[in-house]
Amino acid sequence: MDFGYFFELFLGGLTRGSIYALLALGYTMVYGIIELINFAHGEIYMIGAFTALIVTGVLTLMGWNKIAILILASLAAVVYSSAYGYTAEKIAYKPLRNAPRLSALISAIGVSLFLQNYVLLAQTSDFLPFPNLIPEFEFLKPVEDIVRSSEIVIYATTAVVMVALTILIKFTRIGKAMRATAQDQKMARLVGVDVDRVISITFIIGSATAALGGVLIASHIGQINFYIGFIAGIKAFVAAVLGGIGSMPGAVLGSLVLGWTESFFTGYISSDYEDVFAFIFLVLILIFRPSGILGRKDTDKV
């Protein structure tokens, strides 16, 4: 077996998986708290990428250096996407909180279509080139055939986000409030948790990580259009379900498994069926482990 090729596919899968993870975390957190599949989540990621593109364009004209542009563009993307996520929740989901779950789901699909078409009209339907914001690191010169520096940045960002979120959920006050709300919303209110605020913060955090994913993948691949959120969103959704929706470690694990599955199947079998492999895998998981790899069986909801 060609070990070099295997390793290349392994790293490719890790890159995909890391990006899926940044998105899947948002899906799974929102689902964990209000049991809503936020179908507009992919669009938040797309808006993050567009925001970064616009900021980058302006700052490049002004002659700023690359690192500063990368940081400012990411920051702008995070802020802007979070604002969209927050607003979408307030306008489209909050009024439906006591409605049947299907209503909120349809509302989410509506938000998704609205944001896609809004960006289509406000920007363009063409693919736009996205500059590579991540500089080539000097120390990666010897291995540059194997791993690009943008990939290293993607791994590192995902790892940092995961650790930060774990600390947030486990040890902070808002993290405790989030766990309590996820387990029993009514009881959380009875101990004094401001549930509306917890939900808003969940949307903001999910949108922020999605925006980071958007900036990184756009910079890695080099082009974006208004439709990138759709496919990425569906894939991340698959990853979240694969890992067990509602579980954060599950979302990361599901994303990596999905990333590697796609990478190895396309590498060893055929690249024509990339999405087919991903969905076959989803079907198999759902047949044999319906609650996902790390999901809990939901029997305690009385």
């Binding site: 006050r173 405790k176 409030a177 766990r179 309590a180 387990q183 029993d184 009514k186 009881m187 959380a188 209110r189 009875l190 101990v191 004094g192 948790v193 401001d194 549930v195 809990r296 305690d300 009385v302």
Partner: protein, 235 residues
Amino acid sequence: MLEMKNVQTFYGNIQALKGISLRIAEGEIVTLIGANGAGKTTTLMSVCGIVPPRAGEIFFEGRPIHHMAANKIVSLGICQVPEGRRIFPYLTVLENLDMGAFLRNDKAEIKRDLDYVFSLFPILAERRNQAGGTLSGGEQQMLAISRALMARPRLLLLDEPSLGLAPLVVKQIFEIIRKVNSEQKTTIFLVEQNANLALKVAHRGYVMENGQITMTDTAASLMANEQVRKAYLGI
């Protein structure tokens, strides 16, 4: 301390409370008894702001609370041990207790209250690192009461604390309720289907039927009342 004036609460179009008026003085144990579906739980949920009343007024120490958000009401010192206990199943015993003190910042005092509830229910100290969902029904009820005590409530609302528990455990829990009332000076509003038990521990009682208060008196006279004895005490 708590006063409800003509409170009307609805679920959609269904009226669950048809004008409830009652009053609880500081330091009292007051019980609300009645059959299934009479509106006892709804009364508590209206006080806590979970199901806000559509009409009528609720005052806590003279302040209107019927338009307040649930978390604001908790911060005033009203705490509920809800029906079915509602333990956070995947949090440990310690984390559940910690959630009870969610709105407090006084670390040293929280520690002292933790020791106090562990002294009331030593079994909880033993199980402190176990997930709440793995406790037995009785232990969960102890945890639910302890979690509410961690908020240092001035008014404690208890919804069916005896439900589904073994007689020995029920006895233990009612002893603790009395103890908390006398030692901590916590005012207690107790909702129970087990009228016999409730009237033994309470000072005063209200009888509820079909969303309305039909009778009120001291616990002793309610116990002696012919109608109450027939309908609720099974004598």
